[in-house]
């Protein structure tokens, strides 16, 4: 029940209390501050009745009871200030609501991936129900990562949501992996240290530097007369390769691990022969030397 504090001034102000009680106006917390001043509280709805009984009129030479409102104290004072600052209150409520709810939304999608993969990434995100300016279901990062890693040539993927921004990072294997039955193509860049051709025709010599994608063996057999006929390639090759990369804002161990994974050295075809980690300021330069073995038909 809200009450308002009033102050009545006059001679024998307690008589006014009696009058108010007779008029059916309950009075609360009455205190006499001095001989002529009496402060009391009435229900908010009764304030008009009090002023109707004592309208603060002054007669000639006579002083009748005068009633005035006292300013609110305590929480009422703050509540009244807030009431007069509706704009501030609405703004504060809106700010809290927006910052709380925005976390559940995706307002921006950042792609850190080769341009050729953008369409496929968008397709994967759409398949998992992730769209810009839409609600985001938490815990989907692993599923999206798994779908993106299944794309051709993708060697590393991470999906991270911070606030309302979703960041997708994709790194591809820069080395060609496909080999056809007609061609035996180098899967890595390096020095050809061994090439055994059981069927087909060798196109490169051992000891030469080979770029990834270079055909090592042709699926044809040449006769001494100069004629050729197609043949299913059966061959075996070894390349001495090197992978170097600079990493920032991570530890030495993390830099090595990342380089190891990016070079796909966890594959059975790779055998690490040497690793070097050099510190360059705050960065780490990791150099990995390995032997890459590939076979076709064996």
């Amino acid at each position: 029940m809200l009450k308002e504090r009033l102050c009545l001034t006059g001679i024998n102000p307690e008589r006014a209390l009696s009058r108010l009680a007779k008029e059916g106006i309950p009075v609360f917390s009455a205190e006499k501050t001095d001989k002529t001043n009496l402060c009391f509280s009435v229900k908010k709805g009764d304030v008009a009745k009090v002023f109707a009984i004592y309208p603060n009129a002054k007669r000639k030479g006579n002083f009748v009871y005068a009633v005035r409102r006292l300013p609110p104290t305590g929480w009422l004072k703050g509540a009244r200030k807030l009431k007069n600052s509706v704009g501030v209150l609405v703004g504060a409520v809106l700010f809290v609501a927006v910052t709380t709810l925005a976390d559940d939304w995706v307002l921006q999608i950042n792609l850190d991936a080769p341009a050729v993969y953008e369409a496929q990434i968008q397709e994967v995100l759409k398949r998992h129900g992730v769209r810009q300016y839409a609600l985001y279901e938490k815990g989907k990062e692993d599923l999206i990562s798994a779908s993106l890693l299944a794309l051709d040539g993708v060697s590393y993927c991470s999906v991270e949501k911070r606030g309302s921004v979703l960041t997708v990072t994709l790194k591809t294997n820069s080395f060609a992996t496909e080999t056809t039955n007609e061609e035996f193509v180098a899967e890595r860049t390096g020095i050809l240290t061994e090439l055994t051709v059981l069927r087909g025709s060798a196109l490169c010599a051992v000891g030469t530097e080979i770029a990834a994608g270079t055909s090592l063996v042709e699926g044809r057999i040449y006769t001494p007369e100069g004629e050729s006929q197609p043949a299913r390639i059966v061959a075996y090759a070894k390349l001495q390769c090197e992978y170097a990369c600079k990493y920032t804002d991570i530890t030495q161990e993390q830099a090595f691990a990342r380089a190891y994974l990016e070079a796909c050295l966890d594959s059975a075809q790779a055998q690490l022969t040497e690793s070097r980690i050099e510190k360059d300021g705050e960065d780490y330069v990791v150099t990995l030397s390995y032997v890459w073995t590939q076979r076709l038909g064996i």
């Binding site: 102000p13 307690e14 008589r15 209390l17 009696s18 108010l20 009680a21 007779k22 059916g24 106006i25 309950p26 009075v27 609360f28 917390s29 009455a30 205190e31 006499k32 009496l38 009391f40």
Partner: protein
């Protein structure tokens, strides 16, 4: 207040309708109040049908006054009833 209703059920007309409950050394509750003639932190004079009740104490205040019921706050030390014909009691 049921105890008091039972106590005063068969009381005389002069007593019924004017009641007082006083916590010794504390607050007091008065029924049948017609008005206040004096009000200060040390003294409150209550006008009733029976006469005038003088309340003496310290830090006296009117916590609630409505419909003939008066709730006095503070510390009441003395209650004196002065009836017009019979004198003080």
């Amino acid at each position: 207040m049921r105890l008091f209703e039972e106590l005063f059920e068969n009381a005389d007309d002069g007593v019924y309708g004017v009641k007082c409950v006083w916590k010794l050394g504390g607050e007091g509750y008065f029924e049948g109040v017609k008005g206040l003639t004096e009000f200060s932190p040390a003294e409150i004079r209550i006008h009733t049908r029976l006469g005038e009740v003088q309340v003496l104490g310290k830090g006296l205040s009117v916590k609630k006054y409505a419909d003939g019921d008066l709730y006095v706050g503070g510390r009441i030390y003395t209650l004196t009833l002065a009836t017009p014909s019979e004198g003080k009691c």
